[in-house]
Amino acid sequence: MPPVSQTVRVKVLFFGRLKDVVRQSEESLYLSDASTIEQLFALYAGRIPELAKYRSSVVASRNQEFAAWDTLLRTGDEVAFLPPVSGG
């Protein structure tokens, strides 16, 4: 397998219980050119197996807007993984 091409730099944020699971709230990292949000999540789930079971109760955002899992990431994007919200 070729090494990751490292052309796409993204900032990744975790909140609420996801932050507790991942044990960090924020990270910048480089992804291969055609990565989706789904693949980014899978990358973390590979590192932290417990994360995988939250997949169905997470929504993602890109640049502060809710985003589909198949969204292709571009350099400079800020991606966040958001558990069910409980403000108010």
Partner: protein, 159 residues
């Protein structure tokens, strides 16, 4: 994309106690006749367990954007004058206000509808989370999964 803030609306995340009176007074214009407010504050129990306190955190930039979108939606949907939405973050004790919403309007029906739509939408879509602290531990509150696009829009094949 963040919705622009016009109509002199006030949309804030704060870490200090919320004092409603000075917030509400400027909403009152001569052509208005009604202000409806919603004050949400910390209950002493949750699912029959005694709450000690709550801790709220937010994805602040996105939360502010979503709160501004709610205000913009309200102006599109209802004949209202001004909107105030303030949410507090950090540690909150029993009885302390976590969210305060106020809507002014010429007539009461729009003020009621808009205020209620605002809090209902905030609870479903604004990225804020609360952790509930009890005698024997803490849990992230159950919440609602915001609606998100299922797939990115793609060009349709030519027919």
């Amino acid at each position: 994309m963040t919705a622009p803030l016009d109509h002199n609306d006030v949309i804030e995340l704060v870490r200090e106690p919320i004092d409603p009176l000075p917030l509400v007074r400027p909403l009152r214009a001569p052509e208005d006749g009604a202000i409806v407010t919603f004050d949400g504050f910390v209950r002493n129990q949750s699912h029959d367990r005694a709450t000690l306190y709550l801790d709220y955190e937010a994805y602040e930039s996105m939360a502010l954007g979503k709160m501004r979108e709610i205000a913009a939606d309200l102006h599109e949907k209802y004949p209202i004058d001004r909107v105030l939405i303030v949410h507090r973050l950090g540690r909150l004790e029993i009885g302390e206000t976590s969210v305060f919403i106020a809507v002014s309007a010429p007539h009461r029906a729009a003020a009621f509808d808009a205020c209620r739509f605002a809090i209902d939408t905030l609870k479903r879509t604004v990225p804020i989370w609360k952790k509930e602290y009890f005698e024997d531990g803490a849990v992230w509150a159950d919440g609602e999964l915001p609606p998100a696009p299922l797939a990115t829009p793609r060009a349709k094949p030519a027919s």
